[in-house]
Amino acid sequence: MKVIAFLIVILSGSILLYATVDFPGWADPASPAHTHLSPHYIEKTMQETSVPNIVTAVLADYRGFDTMFETAVIFSAGVVCFILLRVFRKEKGEHHYRHVPTGIIIHIKNDRIIPDSSEDFERIDTQWTPYDLVIKTVCRMLIPFIQLFALYVIAHGHHSPGGGFQGGVILGASIILLAISQNLRIALIRMQEKMHALLCPIGVLIYAGTGVLCLFFGFNFLDYSALASVLYVDPVTARSHGILLVEIGVGIAVMATMIWIYNNVSSAGKYDEGL
């Protein structure tokens, strides 16, 4: 079986390598992709959308329909993870607590618990119990800066590399870092399950809603120049603001999906003890 798989990989790999011979040279100005569409984007993007970063303009404006369904794909990935993994049945379990002043770990059976309000004991996971003050403190100090950077990436996507996808992933990663450095329950206090499950479709809705709003003003779907009358700006600037709107939608959807998938995978769907 392994030999057959290896042969298939070699065969398809060599076919792909053979196909690259037909490619135009790297950065060849005479290639088909660079003769019709690219010059228009390079020359007209600034006049048409007032966005200096051409990639963002192409991604969210000229090819906005593509990006909307990319966001929908990410949303459905989160939903599928939820449907496959989430279990709501509560098992009678054992709990482990650490006595904070002494570091002694106690083990309680038959589903008895020490109340969360107890200051002397803290709940720890059964499988993963490292306790490192340095890691905890450094992560707690870093997370606000990571989130601020993520917001900068989303908001500054017009002028520099970045945008909704990258910023959303960084925002999600900051919450995941909280879950890794402390534990999943503390991360769930900051971002509850209902919250991230709701934010996920809300992000997609913001994107699609911006498109539908353009329809109401008698323009095409996702033609942001329609928003000029609402935002009191000229149509060119309105396209720039419309890009920012959909980037925010993408960012929210991606952030929520990353947290959603991580919580489901790391806690095996129980949302109790996780990595």
Binding site: W128, A173, S266
Partner: protein, 81 residues
């Protein structure tokens, strides 16, 4: 584009890719996959596709490695084959 740098990174891409599919320990495989993503990110940056490089760094090298490690934590660390 500096061809020496390009050569080093391309070699590392191939090495990490072969390593990621051939090691028996799935955790090492996940880490090698993260290294592979990071090398790809450097390649995109060298070729001038900064937006793609940024996405690769945050999604490929960052979050997907964490998701793989979380999945390994909940399943098993050794491969059967």
């Amino acid at each position: 584009m500096i061809w020496e740098l390009d050569l080093v990174i391309l070699t590392l891409v191939v090495v990490t890719a072969i390593g990621a599919i051939s090691v028996k320990d799935l955790l090492s495989s996940a880490i090698l996959f993260g290294a592979y993503s990071f090398m790809m990110c450097l390649l995109w940056a060298i070729m001038g596709a900064v937006d793609v490089a940024f996405t690769e760094a945050s999604v490929g090298a960052g979050v997907s490695t964490v998701l793989l490690v979380a999945a390994i934590f909940r399943t098993t660390r050794r491969t059967k084959d």
